[in-house]
């Protein structure tokens, strides 16, 4: 069997035209089960458009977008348009496109560290809380393909790492393919198998470290961006949440970290790349 037959989703020279302009053109991309593909690129480079073509929300004017049959998709869009007059609890939001039991709701929220929000109103959530809830909703569908449009926007730094860790964990437990958009150019997700750098077209692609060293990438984002990407192995098994709570990698919460500041290396292949923020400035 060739690669294209097993792909969850495959874009073949796909492009979207608006008026006379091409929002994005000539994108080749495929996501396999268990693979994390990250799209990066500056504002207006066609990342969201590419994701929407992959999802079937937008039909390519050129080329093709093919999804495997019977694929369940979990989608975390960039933003929601919930009017303040709409009474919508988190629990209800989780059930938006699929029926879930209470236990399933709690389980999904527990994974993203948002369990306490289950009865909160959607419009009272902060940006970071909203991201966790949207992620929980997408996971709860047990998707074959997870599409995340900037899953860490508005999330604080510690939470960012927790969410990235969670995403690679989900890939492991659900075995799903993940297509992720990151606009934070410097935090390219640790476990990404493939990074595609967009700028109206595919500018370059490869593993995170390949891309960071690529001339085209450095030309697009400046030479310093290459140095800002560092391969690292991180040493946290928990993060400190605002309000003094501690959240472990498995999503559980406790009131303090009980002297657990020991370090350990993650067992996985160590291709973890993360920002050194001070360099980025």
């Amino acid at each position: 069997m060739t690669k294209s037959e097993t792909s969850l989703v495959k874009l073949d020279r796909a492009g979207i035209q608006k008026g006379t302009d091409w929002l994005v053109r000539g994108v080749d991309l495929s996501v396999e089960a268990g693979e994390i593909v990250t799209l990066i690129g500056p504002n207006g480079s066609g990342k969201s458009t590419t994701a929407k073509m992959a999802l079937g929300i937008m039909k390519p004017n050129e080329g093709r977008a093919v999804r495997s049959r019977g694929l369940t998709v979990g989608y975390v869009p960039q933003k929601l348009s919930i009017d303040w007059t709409l009474p919508l609890s988190v629990r209800r939001f989780l059930r938006l496109t699929n029926p879930l039991t209470d236990a399933e709701c709690v389980e999904a929220l527990e994974k993203t560290g948002a369990k306490r929000l289950i009865d909160a109103e959607m419009r009272s959530l902060s940006g970071g809380e909203l991201q966790r809830v949207m992620l929980a909703r997408a996971i709860a569908r047990a998707p074959g393909l997870l599409v995340l449009d900037e899953p860490v926007q508005g999330v604080d730094y510690a939470g960012e790492i927790a969410i990235y860790d969670l995403i690679s964990e989900i890939r492991g437990t659900l075995g799903c393919g993940i297509l992720m958009i990151s606009h934070d150019l410097h935090v390219v997700m640790a476990a990404a198998d493939q990074v595609i750098c967009l700028n109206g077209h595919v500018c370059c692609r490869g593993t995170p470290s390949d891309v960071s060293q690529n001339v085209n990438y450095q030309a697009l984002f400046g030479a310093r961006s290459g140095t800002a990407l560092a391969v690292y192995e991180h040493h946290h098994d928990h993060v400190h949440l605002p309000g003094g709570k501690v959240q472990h990698i498995d999503g559980s919460l406790c009131s303090d970290c009980l002297g657990e500041h020991h370090e350990h290396d993650h067992g996985d292949d160590g291709a973890e790349v993360q920002l050194e923020r001070q360099n980025a400035r």
């Binding site: 929300i57 989608y75 348009s81 609890s89 496109t97």
Partner: protein
């Protein structure tokens, strides 16, 4: 029972409010108030056509509204004008066209005020039958598409990305709105129909914990506004539409007063009386 014109107006008005409540919630959630306005202004064109072709007014108004709704969907796809500019264009051209047509038809005498502001005297048994039949169908279809429409309201992209078809659902919703506007014309009048869709929904927002609860409460508040407004209309000889809307606005204003504040105000007043 339906011999009395006032009873007929009450029965018809409550029928309209029961449908307008749930539908109005979606209009508010989806920020489509101006869309409702556009359809109701286009209703005048429907009236003119019904007189010209001597067919039933409600049917003609419904047909024109559905055409306008579909025209809007088509024009919006072309990206020529922004959505609100398109709505304004359609709204006012249909209203103007309707009024001009009515003026040309010198052989018919039309109660223009009745059309614009509603006329309880004009409600017939056939109107009641149309309201309940049409309203029943609208509620049934709304119940069928509820889940999908709700998902599309929260995020059209999310709904489309996860395999629902929000565009189709939205078109059905627009057609339902067109039907409700057609059946409300005689009670509320073309200029104020949107108010019966929006104000009850806005009034019950703070009292509702779930979307379904809000829909039911909006239907109840709408019915209360109809009863209050029609009685006022009868007693003070005011046009029925504005009277119903004023009643709804009164209920909305009451909903803004926080319950706790009211109790506190009464307590402080009482303690202020004591020496």
């Amino acid at each position: 029972m339906l011999d009395d014109f006032f009873t007929r107006a009450l029965v018809a008005g409550i029928g309209v409010a029961l449908v307008a409540g749930p539908l109005g919630c979606f209009i508010v959630w989806r920020r489509m108030a101006y869309f409702g306005d556009t359809l109701s202004h286009a209703a005048l064109l429907g009236v003119a056509l019904s007189l010209l072709l001597s067919i039933n007014t409600t049917l003609a108004v419904g047909a024109v509204s559905v055409v306008i709704a579909m025209l809007l969907v088509l024009l919006r796809r072309n990206d020529t004008l922004s959505s609100d500019a398109l709505l304004g264009l359609l709204s006012h051209s249909a209203l103007a066209l309707g009024l001009v047509c009515l003026a040309f038809m010198t052989w018919v005498r039309v109660d223009l005020l009745g059309l614009l502001f509603g006329d309880i005297l004009a409600v017939t048994r056939i109107d009641i039958a149309l309201i309940y039949a049409g309203g029943g169908i609208v509620l049934m279809v709304l119940a069928l598409i509820w889940r999908q429409l709700f998902a599309a309201t929260v995020s059209p992209d999310l709904a489309a990305g996860e395999g629902l078809r929000p565009e189709r659902t939205e078109l059905i919703f627009m057609i339902l709105t067109a039907i409700v506007i057609a059946i409300s014309l005689k009670i509320i009048g073309a200029l104020l129909i949107t108010a019966l869709l929006i104000i009850p929904a806005a009034a019950v927002r703070r009292l509702s914990a779930t979307p379904e609860q809000m829909a039911v409460l909006a239907a109840i508040i709408g019915s209360a506004s109809v009863v209050g407004g029609l009685y006022a209309s009868l007693n003070y000889d005011t046009p029925s539409g504005p009277s119903i809307v004023v009643a709804a606005v009164v209920l909305f204003t009451l909903s803004l007063v926080p319950g706790g504040l009211l109790v506190k105000w009464m307590r402080t007043n009482r303690s202020g009386d004591q020496p």
